[in-house]
Amino acid sequence: MVIIMKNIIDIQNVNLWYGDHQALYDVSMPVQKNKVTALIGPSGCGKSTLIRSINRMNDLIDGCRVEGRMMFHGEDIYGPGTDVIKVRKKIGMIFQKPNPFPMSVRDNITYGPKIHGITDKDELEGIVEKSLREAALWDEVKDRLDKSAMALSGGQQQRLCIARTLSVSPEVILMDEPTSALDPIATSKIEDLITELVKEYTVVIVTHNMQQAARISDYTGFMYIGEMVEFDKTEKIFQSPSKEMTDRYISGRFG
């Protein structure tokens, strides 16, 4: 299958090992700018491994080895001389369980910009408001910016984490099952937010919720035992995939 499009990220023939265990086999996948790309597949199929390798989060795991090319704006993220901190600034990540820092709402947002050298108070305040607005959280927290982030609800905490990611002006946001710990209403808010975010950013999302992938993504990749079984437009994957295995997985017949 050939999809011609503007790729912000281009994953080319990536193999990944955790020690002796190979977790990814020759995975290729394009990520188009300002689109939502979803990764689906049964537990242990390598979705999280793949998404975590996009911003080199797997570097933190001992014995993790990557082969192949992971192009970001045409440059290999794993190439020599890559500034990993810069990669992670440009490619942010949201996890399954909201993980705000145990500090105030405001400090959660300003933490990143401060590390990246912004000290001007007005500028930081501007970032706080902009990030929280973009994460559709501003109206709910604007009067409690100095209260602890831990007092927010699960859904609010997750949106705070998204705002925290936005505070350092990323281009790509990776989301690893961002709504699986949330109730349906909070989930719906995050989904709406993702739809808004792709106007400015690019989103790659791992999800176990098939309907969620079908609802919010433009492209979907189906993975199984470390391989990319099928990658195509979401509409195609969920209506008439080319591979029978994709059909069987999405319709709930295995996995």
């Binding site: 309907q211 969920f238 209506q239 008439s240 319709s251 709930g252 017949r253």
Partner: protein
């Protein structure tokens, strides 16, 4: 998952039964026409209430499955196509009913035989309905290769019937009512063929996910 597969299989089974009923009505309406058999025509008319009932029943069941299980990919296509095709099949059943009603009128008028071309249209309609009911069952869409040609043949026959009937009516004004009924019957068969084509298009989508046009 087990319950979903059971329910889905039952839905498909009921939809196939619905197809069989409509096919049988089509066959009997053509037989009734060829033999001007009013009793057979009445049996077709009686069956329409069952068509109406099954149409509603299958729709309710398909909606219940959508609500409970949110089927995906090929399962979604099956449920969506059943929802759509029952409407076409109900219409075909209605046209069989209308043919039967016309046959009763004609036999009461003392008409003893049908037009040759109208009988041929009836046979074509039955053929086309059989194609879709069988394809629905065995999911073999290769038989649809001929359906467009049959539909074109149907349209040609319809034109012939119309020309011939107008000729008759202008020659002999006494046969205007009978001719008008024959014209209506030819229209019903032509519509049955069209609906069979639409059904074939949907079944093709169900089987391979591709959009095609057959007429």
């Amino acid at each position: 998952m087990k319950r979903f597969i059971e329910d889905l299989n039952n839905l498909v089974g009921t939809a196939n039964g619905f197809g069989d009923l409509v096919l049988s009505m089509a066959e009997r309406s053509v037989y009734a026409l060829n033999n001007l058999d009013a009793d057979m025509a009445r049996s077709v008319m009686d069956d329409y209430s069952q068509v109406d009932y099954m149409d509603g029943l299958i729709e309710d069941e398909a909606l219940r499955i959508l609500m409970l299980f949110q089927p995906m990919v090929s399962d979604m296509r099956v449920v969506a196509v059943i929802l759509k095709t029952i409407t076409y099949m109900e219409r075909i059943g209605k046209y069989c009913h209308n043919v039967a009603k016309a046959v009763i009128y004609l036999s009461e008028k003392g008409v003893r035989r049908s037009y040759e071309n109208i009988s041929a249209m009836g046979d074509l309609a039955v053929d086309m309905v059989r194609m879709v009911t069988e394809a629905m069952k065995d999911r073999d869409i290769s038989r649809f290769e001929e359906i467009s040609a049959k539909d074109q043949k149907m349209d040609g026959l319809r034109d012939l019937v119309l020309t011939k009937a107008v000729e008759h009516m202008s020659r002999d004004p006494c046969c205007v009512d009978v001719c008008t009924y024959f014209i209506s019957i030819s229209k019903f068969f032509e519509r049955m063929g069209d609906h069979a084509c639409k059904t074939a298009e949907k079944i093709t989508y169900m089987v391979n996910g591709k959009r095609v046009t057959y007429n």
